[in-house]
């Protein structure tokens, strides 16, 4: 579904990227407050749900190739996060719903888990 539809479903508010949200297609979601979990397990192209309203959430979304960030629990990111999102072209949405409730609603609406398995790359010294 479109990110704008996700926003409607959750009674949310698009903080940045309203026009982009109206044409951005979302197929999967990944929910976490630990950014290392996002970096380790989020599938590229997923929507990130998080209660962490810091620049690191926006950076993690960018680094992990996630399409947008949805802040739960009424969290609103500050100016630095909005500026970073604008530079990266990553829409930001906020909802009053809790992480649990937001996940339940979106899962029931058909969005699948955006979780990838680790690569198991074997290390050797460079």
């Amino acid at each position: 579904m479109l990110l704008s539809e996700v926003n409607q479903l959750l009674g949310g508010e698009v903080i940045w990227g309203r026009e982009l949200a109206a044409r951005l297609w979302v197929e999967s979601c990944f929910a976490a407050d630990l950014m290392s979990d996002v970096l380790a397990f989020a599938q590229p192209g997923a929507l990130l749900l998080t209660g962490l309203a810091s620049v690191q959430a926006a950076h993690a979304a960018d680094v992990a190739d996630l399409v947008a960030v949805l802040f739960v629990g009424g969290k609103r990111p500050g100016e630095a996060v909005r500026e970073l999102a604008a530079v990266k072209g990553i829409p930001l949405v906020t909802t009053e719903k809790s992480l649990y409730e937001a996940c339940g609603i979106l899962h029931q609406a058909g969005l699948r888990p955006g979780h990838r398995h680790s690569s198991g790359a074997s290390p050797e010294g460079p």
């Binding site: 407050d33 630990l34 950014m35 290392s36 979990d37 996002v38 970096l39 380790a40 590229p44 998080t50 962490l52 810091s54 620049v55 690191q56 959430a57 926006a58 950076h59 993690a60 960018d62 680094v63 992990a64 190739d65 630095a80 990266k88 680790s118 690569s119 198991g120 790359a121 074997s122 290390p123 050797e124 010294g125 460079p126």
Partner: protein, 147 residues
């Protein structure tokens, strides 16, 4: 380090500079995009760089990230000056962490940083001297199978 270096740039990372945590990883990502490096290579390296950058911010006084583009791989070395790592084997265990509350509030410090770097790279080496600092060296090969 051997091999022809096609591109090289160094970036400074300041310890405890949480406000800019991720900026260096973002700049390197932008450079790799301009160099038309394959997207999956960029993603894996960006994850590693972000984790390495946050480690310097969280645990060191200051550090540098050196980016080198070679014909067959992208190589990164992150050197820092700080407390170092007393037990590397322990630090490599998922979940082992010495994080402060501020680190956890930022979404890091869960003990996944070094394992995440190793998981996303094809070559990985870590050297550390307690009370001196740490050198992290890793690389992603351009012809490796995506993770």
């Amino acid at each position: 380090m051997s091999g022809e270096v096609l591109y090289s740039e160094s970036f400074t990372i300041r310890g405890n500079d949480f406000e800019h945590g991720g900026d260096v990883a973002a700049r390197v990502k932008a450079i790799l995009r301009e160099l038309r490096i394959p997207p999956d290579v960029i993603r894996r390296l960006s994850i590693a760089n972000f984790e390495a950058e946050m480690n310097v911010i969280m645990y060191a006084d200051e550090g540098e990230l050196l980016l080198e583009v070679l014909p067959g791989k992208i190589r990164v070395q992150v050197r820092d000056r700080g407390q170092g790592i007393p037990d590397i084997e322990l630090a490599m265990q998922e979940g082992y962490s010495t994080a402060t509350p501020e680190m956890r509030q930022r979404g890091f410090g869960a003990g996944l940083g070094l394992p995440n770097i190793r998981r996303n790279t094809d070559e990985f080496l870590i050297e550390s001297t307690p009370q001196v600092g740490t050198i992290l060296s890793y690389a992603v090969r351009l012809n490796a199978r995506p993770g």
